[in-house]
Symmetry: C3
Subunit: 446 residues, 3 copies
């Protein structure tokens, strides 16, 4: 990667068009399995042709879990005694509890009530409800509608199927010159929810395009579009050893589309390279960002950071799940997610990627300060102390002791890492810095 | 121990009656040796039949010290020229300097003065003075009396003996299912002093009864009633290797009877399990407690924490020795010590014992979050994030990485440990947590 | 060294006379090589007869550098068209750019300008300018003069030589009973500059005399008077392995003569014994001292702390280079440096030396508190807690666990180390403390 242009705004990685993609993905009815997931991945493949669709059969054991039956749904209606359609899947796919079994029943309001879900605090919102692991069915409606339901016989029709099939996920490997891997994970299992679903795959897709467009890459990028929880568990159960030995940092991309805040949710112990990079980037780009402890976790860092899994994964978000009122309701729609909201998240994450590309631990090659004048790196006339323009070079070398990586040194110097990329490159080019630690095999070849 | 009822208020361990015991013990003239110590232990044996009385002969070498001659006293009087009895051992045993040699002398006021002790700042108090290791004698009187002593010939009579005998201490071992030991140490060497003496053995006795009444115990409790300093040195010299290899935590019980404050005096480096437990319990039960550095030490933590001894011992107190005006004078009487003062200390110390019983370092047995629904530990309908009722279970597992013990996890979660005992038990019962570290032999058998 | 008198004010080390020495050294035209350095060392030899002058030939390779040609200068004048002498080396040696090549030229004002240096912000000051490593020449004048220079032909005469010769430095080894070395480094390469040159060798000289006068020494002192930067690099390149295996602490002495502030510039990582001692001494003697990060470095700690060199070196200064307006101009003269300014620095540095002499890591020899009474270290009558006069003895032993050195213990006790020297000596004399770590060979013989 060129240090001079860490964030090229080339057509390939232009953020314009993110909201367009969000609009295409929003209407699809996704769940943790089923054709909605496949349809989503197929659209993403238009942007990322190398994105591979992977199918894992129902019943596959994954640690303490099994891949559940595949769920698909074609239509669903809840019809009031007066014939009015109270809830119609065709109007909003949130109306049906995800993984509802097929039903075609007549029942009284009293019998219906246990199958109804609404949100009293947001009376105009349809809540998002799931019932993945125990057969059940239900309808989600606004609390306003629910409070005015007349007595009488209702008809509940859900045309769904629950049968052996597959769990589907997408995986894209963008190779670099080393096998140091960066893991990016986002989820594609929610129906029409915007910030807490669509923003994730959209920003991940454009971030992947940015990474693909880099002229060269030190890191290899492993980018997965998975159903939340069960998808992460499936993926980890099938790749754990590889991930543990290769991943140097990872990020869960979720809630990256609104324009209200920036936030960071630390890894379990808060001490990974991912945390260090996220904190560094946000401190310089968005100093008012909100920091959440791992106790506030809610997405796949739950699995990635689990004891024994212990991948170095944190989250960089706009407004965190659970911290905005529309969360998990029909109000989390494409008015919450904005082009500038998506762009802001992409901007921060691109800087995180840039930092991961550049963050190595160097060692000075010369004992004592080198003679910089004969390398044209120092003025020939001496005045007061270390010449200002050369100071950053000398400071970088002074802390390049094999113990401090590039981010550490940027933190010591109180400067954004990206302002130092060029200086590190210069010193490396003059052979004043070397990479002392035995590099991974492919790095040596690079 | 049942996690459901960490602090049962059963008759066996009811704190009522603590002040009654204090009243029985208060009048006895104790010193670092002698019959007062034996008499005290015999009364405690009524409450703790398994308490063993141990005699160590005069002259026994214990590290840098030797067990001194045994001191006993039957009567003592200081009589003024006019025949008035200025100080009478029968009235208050503080009137005689502890370890005074026998005398029967006539002497002038001027000759007497070096043998008189009073406290100008507390003119109505008789000070507590000792002269254990160099033959001497003396009387302690109020400063008021001292200032009005007439000239003339005084008679000083002390009927005491100083001869080969024994140092006496009490020891009670309450066995648990493991040989992880908790050391409780209190002293029985002061004459009629209440907070800075009697409160210690009284609370220790009732705490021992609480521990004996537990339906089962993981820890073994080693409870010693010793003369301060020389008793601790004797005990350590005879048990050091055992203690160093078994004691996981210990507490010195002193000044645990007044009702004015709670305090904690840290171990030498402040970093032991005893410190962690004491800090945790006090933070939740008595957040205004006073914390003292080891520089403020004054009881047997002086010996227990000595370099090379290095037992994990701290002190939990009500008002610390030296921090209340009556300390080491006749004003430290049974009005300073109250039933509620004793109860408060017992309450805190029982929670410390409960924490020590429960504090183990667990490891999750499952990679990634386990499927809690099929264990009826998670709701089958999903709404927003981790279900609230299950959150504590998941959080406990998330930090059960073999590095954080139960108290660490309670601290991370910001909750009192005892609110988590049940959850740990539940997870252990479901085999979702295990005890990864090789347990001590007897623990494996338990 | 006698603990009773850590800072004897004997004639040998009396600070009076420091300003006299400064006045002798001030007028000499020093540079990084040349006769000015030799002349300076010869004067210092009057005070330190064992000071050895060392010559290193031009062309000697030292890490990334080579010893440059030797520069000497006899006279220089810049003469205006009207015959007026604008700048005369005989009047102020700052008028000539250090290392100016010989010239004898007539040139117009326009041609002259690139060779003129002045300081617009200090219009009455002659700036100090160097051009060591690329042939050049120039004159330094006040900005006032420069602004009034008439048009016309100027004559520039510099009678200098640049040819093969030597770099000269001074070295004094003051042996102690062990080979634990303390490095003191100061520079002698600036012409007539007072605080940022002369103060360093003057205070170093008097500090060396103080050390020589000590009745005995545990440490060996290596004291070097070197040209800044190239001198340090030369010295390190020839002594690195010895220094790395022997130096326990070191100080760069620079800017130690004014009377405005005390300051401390930490070593690269701020965690060496030198840092610990400097912080301790300044905290107690000059609590308002200014602390600078290594990022503010500007003298030979640049070389001593370089990665791979990593000597434990920091700086204790009065007002730091770059932090006072006169720095590197003719205004940094002997009015900036005062006798009391020099004395204050010497006072602080002597305490640092005293601490280094005394700072060892002891271990208590006795398990549990020793019996101090029979050693006459404790009163025989006991009153409240540990007797006040003996408390410091007991506290010292309580932390003498082989992990805390004397300064650590002084910090724990909140007292200046020198107030504890006597107590450590007493305990050592009573064999209550020992030095557990295998001492260096010569220490064992001492």
């Amino acid at each position: 990667m060129s240090a001079q242009a860490p964030c090229p705004e080339t057509p390939e990685c232009s953020p314009s068009g993110m909201h367009d993609l969000a609009q295409r993905l929003f209407p699809i009815c996704r769940s943790i399995t089923g054709d909605g997931v496949r349809q989503t991945i197929r659209i993403l493949q238009e942007y990322l042709p190398m994105l591979r669709m992977v199918e894992v059969p129902t019943g596959t054991q994954c640690f303490d879990w099994q891949v559940p039956e595949e769920w698909n749904i074609s239509e669903a209606q809840l019809i009031a005694p007066n014939g009015r359609v109270i809830a119609d899947f065709a109007v909003n796919n949130l109306h049906v509890v995800s993984y509802s079994e097929p039903v075609d029943l007549e029942l009284s309001l009293e019998e219906l009530q246990p199958h109804l879900h609404s949100e009293p605090n947001l009376p105009e919102a349809i809540p998002y409800i799931t019932a993945y692991y125990k057969r059940n069915w239900g309808f989600c409606i606004t609390h306003q509608v629910r409070q005015n339901l007349p007595q009488g016989q209702y008809r509940a029709i859900i045309r769904s199927t629950l049968k052996k099939g597959h769990l589907t996920y997408g995986e894209l490997i963008i190779p670099g010159s080393t096998d140091r891997e960066v893991l990016l994970s986002t989820y594609i299992c929610h129906p029409s929810l915007a910030n807490n679903e669509i923003s994730g795959p959209v920003v991940t897709t454009f971030l992947a395009r940015y990474l693909q467009a880099l002229p060269d890459r030190r890191c290899t990028y492993r980018i997965i579009f998975i159903p939340e929880t069960i998808g992460a568990i499936v993926y980890l159960s099938q790749h754990l050893e590889h991930l543990k030995s290769h991943v140097i940092a990872g990020f869960v991309l979720s809630c990256v589309g609104d324009d209200r805040a920036y936030s960071y949710l630390e890894s379990r112990l808060g001490n990974t390279l991912a945390d260090k990079v996220a904190q560094h980037v946000l401190k310089h780009l968005q100093p008012d960002y909100v920091r959440y402890s791992y106790l506030k976790r809610g997405s796949d860092e739950r699995q990635f950071c689990w004891p024994g899994v212990d991948l170095p994964v944190c989250s960089v978000m706009r407004t965190r799940y659970g911290s905005y009122p529309e969360y998990h309701t029909s109000l989390d729609d494409l008015t919450v997610v904005t082009e500038s909201g998506l762009q802001g998240a992409l901007h921060v994450l691109r800087h995180c990627m840039d930092c991961l590309e550049q963050t190595l631990t160097y060692t000075t090659t010369v004992l004592c300060e080198p003679q910089l004048m004969r390398r044209q790196l120092y003025p020939t006339i001496g005045r007061k102390g270390i010449a200002a323009g050369s100071r950053v070079l000398v400071d970088i070398m002074a802390y390049s002791d094999g113990q401090h990586d590039l981010i550490d040194i940027a933190n010591i110097l109180g400067r954004p890492a990206w302002e130092l990329f060029q200086a590190f490159e210069t010193l490396h080019a003059h052979q004043l810095l070397s990479l002392p630690e035995a590099p991974p095999p492919t790095l040596a070849a690079a």
